[in-house]
Amino acid sequence: MKKVFKGIEKKRESGEFWLDQLKRKRNEGPFLSSKRYTGFSESTKSVHAGQYNDPTTNALGTPIFQCSTFSLSEDKYQAISEGRGRDEFIYTRYGNPSQWSVQEKLSSLENAESSIVFSSGMAAISSTLLAILDKGSHVVSSRDIYGGTYNFLYEDLDRYGMSVSFASPTDIESIEAAIQENTAVLYFEALTNPLLKLIDIEEIVKLGAKYNLRVIIDNTFLTPYNCKPLDLGVDLVVNSATKYLNGHSDLIGGTVSGSRKLIDRIWPQLLKNGGSMDPHACFLLERSLKTFALRMRAHNANALDLANYLEHHPRIKKVYYPGLKSHKQHELAKTQLKGKNSGMISFEIEGGDEKAHALMEHLKLAIEATSLGGVESLISLPYNTSQASLTKKQQEKIGINEGLIRLSVGIEDIEDLIRDFKQAIEQIF
């Protein structure tokens, strides 16, 4: 039921009824089509969910609704008056069919009631946190989180009368010890950058329930293909859509998914902060998501094979990959990731950062670039990119050792990738 006074409009002015008689309930969405494909598997959802086929022209595929505004009507004025503007098309920052279409596909993949797409991952993260936190609130997070998020928590929360503490993401006791009287949110990344530490999501959720907190998980490194945090009881899941969700290194975007109740709280923050996703970017994202499951299978399979290859190479000192038995949390990975693991690998090469730089120069396929999750393999060194703000000693303290390399394994043929690493390592030693 969308309308607040459906069927009782005439009784409204006499005040015959009170709040308990109001009709509007929270529904999933807002979506264009209600094509959720619930009960279907990942590839089917990726291809079909949320797609809007134009009924006038019968054109297949969601059109790009490249407009800033929509013609108004009595229904829309009524929606604005009642405070249910999120369900109508009024202005593209508020909502646009291209956004709704991709939001439905994302909701289907995340098993969420509702989602919002943003112009970047950081727009999604900052709007989500500002919407959920009240003045005086405290967040418990981890020093291992993405630098942009760390900077927002560490540098900006204070301005809003909020605060943050950092605990070890793998030490549930240290997380519990960091919880204060004013803690409202536990914010963690499902798989950390660059050391690929897993957080035990079910344990974090239990902690949240024990202290009446909200749990927000950044699932960018895993994606809903490898792990569905909402199914494990998390309140909200955020992603940088720039990475695996889009997967083609050709747009910047972010997502948040969860219950309609919580996403409706984030929506007004989106309106205030800006950061809505442009319709053309929505088209690219929705189109890219059609191959999401297919791509993730290739990323995961390539990463597992390449991690195995690197682990057995005499010049590679250590490989961080949750699918390897040598990973400290391999057992947790087996249950939480159900054998899908990740498309990301980190490893340490003999000879420190000098050899790491040399390796990147000699690779012919993996491109030396920041970001991740594209169809092409991307390689970078954490010490001078994601963790560049830390001193060498601080880096070593959190495990960023000399020669550490982060690799986003693409969907190239695995034989080619292995051959490329083989020749590059041979050339530098």
Binding site: G15, K25, R26, H138, L213
Partner: protein
Amino acid sequence: MLNNINIAGLSEYANEVKENNIEGKASYGVVLDWISGTKTKVKTKNMILGNHKLVRDFEFTIDEPAQLLGVNCAPNPAEYMLGGLAGCMAVTFMAGATLMNIEIDQLQLEIDGELDLRGFLGIDKDIDSGFPELNFIFNVKGSGTQEQYNTLMERVMKHSPNFNTIKNEVKMIGELND
């Protein structure tokens, strides 16, 4: 939004509570510290709404006028109580007005009462130390009719939590820690 009240959100919340009563449970609390003389400071405790904590990071000072031995630096306890009563009645009135499609241009609520301080001072044991009665006046300008405003006043008296806390008997359970 009419009166800047999100009636859709209120409808969703009412229906949520109907299906899941726990979401209607809201715990409130304050903690008061004596500062000096008649001056005290109140901090709001965190609320629990449903199963989730709401951080309430607010504080205010209370004092008495100089004539009643304070330094008159803040409203007195009775004024805070009446202010809390009026605020709650106003919220209920505005929710009801929006529900009835009445646009409110101005709402002013006056509450007056008289204490007989002989009760506080213990001069006459037959005199209650509380307010024997409170008089309230709604000054309203808006698109509603007299009849609609009368209905709204009835709604306020029936549904305002603070109004009913003061009107009805509340079980007071005291404890001492020293």
